[in-house]
Symmetry: C2
Subunit: 211 residues, 2 copies
DNA sequence: TCACTTCCTGACCGTATGGTCAGGATCAGA
DNA sequence: TCTGATCCTGACCATACGGTCAGGAAGTGA
């Protein structure tokens, strides 16, 4: 099972950094920042602990990178919202994208949630700059849809909070959902049903669809 | 400021336990289980560390009590749902109650979220018994309302997840919301607006109200 | 007053953690 | 082949943590 062929320098760095980041994401998600240990992350990554410190000076550096990763993934996923003619397509596709991420990156979502819950000690600047600008932009977009009569006059901010809350819930509280599902993870069909449920309730809730 | 009058034995125990539990709830919420230290909890409570261990044998015992507390608060808050004639009153009052708790007990909510995110290591039995039974009961209640034509045929479980997600979001992600609110906590009026927004979108989303 | 129980705490202990470092291995380019 | 940069790691260190304990303080009931 050893694919230990010689590698270029740049590849080695790239490969080990991702390997460590993936292990770190998992361990931080399962144990929190305080509960995670560099030793455990090293074990999961299959590397000596000292090697982690070669690539990431401190535990906090490593953690910061993990948090930034999920944040960027979320930002990229929101692109579909802008290129939509109205709330049905825009918010519908945003929900789809966020639900897909909740399934593919549950650990990243948990790390972000944990970070924010603890007062965002390491990404407060992101909240105040990038997230704030992003939020204001989307709130304006939603308001435009409202003004154009394409949806009910709901508060754009509280709508965004609801979108974040519901979609991320399936990642952050995935264990609880799994337990209530009889101890087994949601199947493909169940995930699709979840997406449809969320989309249906929200799109009806904002008056974008009637039925 | 010393109210150090002599106290009865039972009072002493009662008072110190609540004092420690309140401090623990705050510290666990801010730092997570792994990041919290008995020393810090002791400092917040204004007691020597050794005194904590007199009332709570281990850090985990203390933590377990904190998690159980918020769980009971939530369970009690759901009573209004049963005594309601339909979804407008039942789910409406449940949202009100959960939003009120998010404001009055944000730390407890965060501790619960953290616990579940980490795989519920200490309250897994609660999820499998109490929460599971509770959920099945409410799902049946919602299904009855659907069958009676009082609301749209949504999946009761996903509706419950949405209720939990949206209401608890205002506690768990309170820091993010506060940052997006210009760095200041929501005012009374803003909290009322949040409750109305959430109630409006969800009740419309499940077809319990039309407008 | 006295015996008894509960309450309290400074000092201490074993352990595990984040981080360091010297020195070796490996690769790149000349 | 030689030189220098990058990569790797076992062994080590200072610190901080959860938890213990002996012994004193303070209520309690007779």
């Amino acid at each position: 099972m050893s694919d230990a062929r010689p590698q270029k320098r740049t590849e080695i760095r790239q490969q080990n950094e991702t390997l460590i980041l993936q292990a770190a994401e998992k361990v931080f998600a399962e144990a929190g920042f305080g509960g995670a240990t560099m030793q455990l992350i090293a074990d999961v990554a299959g590397l000596p602990k000292a090697n982690l410190h070669y690539y990431f000076a401190t535990k906090e550096d490593l953690y910061r990178r993990v948090v930034q990763n999920i944040f960027e993934i979320w930002l990229n996923a929101a692109g579909s919202m802008d290129r939509a003619p109205g709330p049905v397509e825009g918010i519908g596709s945003y929900i789809d994208a966020k639900m897909d991420i909740s399934r593919s990156h549950p650990c990243g979502s948990k790390v972000w949630a944990s970070e924010v819950m603890h007062g965002a000690p390491v990404i407060q600047d992101y909240l105040e700059t990038t997230l704030r600008n992003w939020t204001m932009g989307r709130a304006a977009l939603i308001q435009r849809w409202i003004d154009e009569g394409k949806m009910a006059p709901v508060d754009p901010h509280h709508l965004l909070y609801m979108l974040w809350a519901t979609t991320q819930h399936y990642a952050d509280f995935g264990h609880q959902i799994e337990t209530l599902n009889g101890g087994t993870p949601l199947t493909d069909a169940q995930w699709q049903a979840a997406k449809d449920s969320v989309k249906g309730m929200i799109l009806r809730g904002i008056g974008a669809v009637t039925s």
